[in-house]
């Protein structure tokens, strides 16, 4: 699922110059890591909802933790999909 998520990130966020091999599953997605910003977080949330039917509620969940890396995001989606 990690690779699938990476491709989703690349497609949803128009990261044309980046391939899935360029994204480290454990590296930070935002700020210093991949360099994504708050608009990307919203866009990614929408893309995840469309693809996995998983809604990440910013008021109930610890979104900073969930969105911290591809691994944490994949773990969260897996847990919600069961």
């Amino acid at each position: 699922m990690e690779n699938e998520l990476k491709q989703l990130i690349i497609d949803a966020l128009d990261l044309e110059d980046i391939g899935i091999d360029d994204i480290d599953s454990d590296a930070a997605l935002f700020n210093d890591g991949l360099g994504l910003d708050s608009i990307d977080a919203l866009e990614l949330g929408l893309a995840i909802r469309k693809k996995y039917n998983v809604k990440i509620d910013a008021e109930k969940e610890d979104v900073v933790k969930i969105f911290s890396s591809v691994s944490t995001l994949a773990n969260y989606i897996r847990a919600q999909s069961i």
Binding site: L13, D14, L15, D17, G35, I39, L42, E43, L46, K50
Partner: protein, 257 residues
């Protein structure tokens, strides 16, 4: 021309324009002579100083704005900017309306980039420009309100600096793209044949092309902003000494002095 300037006179220090396939002054001179534009042309390349992460957010229209403005600015140069566009990113808004109609989730990125000051916001980030920025949607008045806004800024900033200094400059950026067929435009003359951005750096003193702006009461029907933008570009490229643009009895005249 270094002499002191009156009320609605200003100096065009330099200018740049960009459309698909038209970027250099020579390209524009050729367009002026032939009125032709090649249909399969690509959007302009932007300098590497504008990060790829930011460039991915730029529409064709935003790229043209950046490219035209970039031709007027030295590296690191910042100044107040007046943006002027009849329709802004209206094509993005239409795409979102279609998504809503189809019952799809709305893209937050598309929404944030569809508002009238979206390109101005991206521009301020890309150029680290924290000066005053205004975005005008001028309607029937065409390109004139942006000049008036720029003159206001020049005089206001000139007051603080106690005089008309050469470094008191404002960047004016006009841009529009053809709007989608979905929108009925007739009987209004408000669609240009191609997307285009025109940037002018203006001041009250210094070298450049001195221009006098005045009201005109001639009864005219010159079209709205997207059409007037190209008329002003032809005025810059050609030998005509004056340009009058107006609609419904309200108009403005630009004269080379």
């Amino acid at each position: 021309m270094q002499s002191m300037i009156k009320g609605s006179d200003f100096i065009v220090r330099n200018w740049g324009a960009s459309a698909p396939g038209l970027s250099s002054v020579d390209d524009w001179k050729n367009w002026y002579a032939t009125q032709r534009i090649s249909p399969d042309s690509k959007p302009p390349l932007l300098p590497n100083s504008i990060s790829k992460m930011l460039q991915r957010r730029l529409s064709l229209l935003a790229r043209l704005v950046f490219h035209a403005a970039g031709q007027c600015l030295d590296d690191g140069e910042i100044m107040p900017v007046v943006f002027s566009s009849a329709h802004g990113e209206i094509c993005k808004s239409l795409e979102m309306l279609k998504a809503i109609q189809a019952g799809e989730g709305l893209s937050p990125t598309a929404f944030s980039l569809s508002v009238h000051n979206a390109i101005a916001g991206l521009f301020s980030i890309a150029y680290s420009n924290s000066r005053e920025m205004t975005v005008i949607a001028p309607g029937l008045e065409g390109i004139a309100p942006a000049f008036i806004e720029a003159l206001g800024l020049l005089y206001e900033n000139g007051l603080h600096e106690k005089g008309l200094r050469e470094n008191n400059e404002v960047l004016l950026v006009f841009y529009d793209e053809p709007i989608a067929d979905f929108y009925p435009v007739a009987p209004f003359n408000l669609n240009a044949p191609f997307p285009c951005a025109l940037a002018l750096k203006v001041s009250l003193a210094g070298d450049g092309l001195p221009v006098r702006l005045s009201r005109s009461s001639e009864s005219r029907d010159d079209g709205e902003h997207p059409v007037q933008l190209l008329a002003f570009l032809r005025f810059l490229l050609g030998d005509e000494q004056s340009l009058t643009l107006g609609n419904q009895g309200r108009g403005w005249r630009w004269g080379k002095i």
